[in-house]
């Protein structure tokens, strides 16, 4: 799953550690989400969306569409 987390974080001048503290996760988890190696759960995705005042769809884009 692709996401715009790195861009949004950079726009707000936040480090991975800053964002990790705000979301109550480890810095490694933020890095893994940004590089697409780990997909966050729905509650964490909502938390990220609320933090950046965006909708989940504005941040995360699924790679496949349902027919």
């Amino acid at each position: 799953m692709k996401n715009r987390l790195k861009v949004l974080r950079a726009e707000r001048d936040l480090t991975q550690a800053d964002l990790a503290t705000k979301l109550e996760v480890s810095r490694q988890t933020i890095n893994a989400i940004e590089t697409g190696k780990f997909d966050p759960s729905l509650p964490l995705a909502f938390k990220i969306a609320r933090l950046f005042e965006k909708s989940i769809e504005d941040i995360f884009q699924g790679e496949a569409t349902i027919q």
């Binding site: 988890t29 890095n31 964490l44």
Partner: protein
Amino acid sequence: MNHAKANKADKGDWKARSNSNIIRLAIWTVSWVAAIALARFGPDYIWGSNQLLTVGAILLNLGIGLGLIVANIQHLKTLDEMMQKIQLEAMGISLGIGVIGGIGYALLNASNIISIDAEIAHLVILIAVSYLVAIFVGYRRYQ
């Protein structure tokens, strides 16, 4: 306003809470190892053939072991979801290797194919090593 302040304090506390749980887990682990040593070597070097003290040392070991389990559960609960996933996969792998490898090892011993006696310590080492390797691989995979 107060709710917002409390929420901010909670967020700041997450890392501290996580570190505190790691320290608590380490203390329980060291205590448990010390209790094993006491139960194992106490009869040989401290109290001799006093059965009551031996049983007491074993019960102490079991009690501390229970505390260690609770501390480990609390530690796992404070991990974030990716860390929990890594831990879950590592525990699954080490449990699988422990059961499959342990039974295979016992069968080799029972069939007299291997000359050394199968001991529980060998199984514990196998589980511990496979767990550590699985944790390392798990962290590397998400880097």
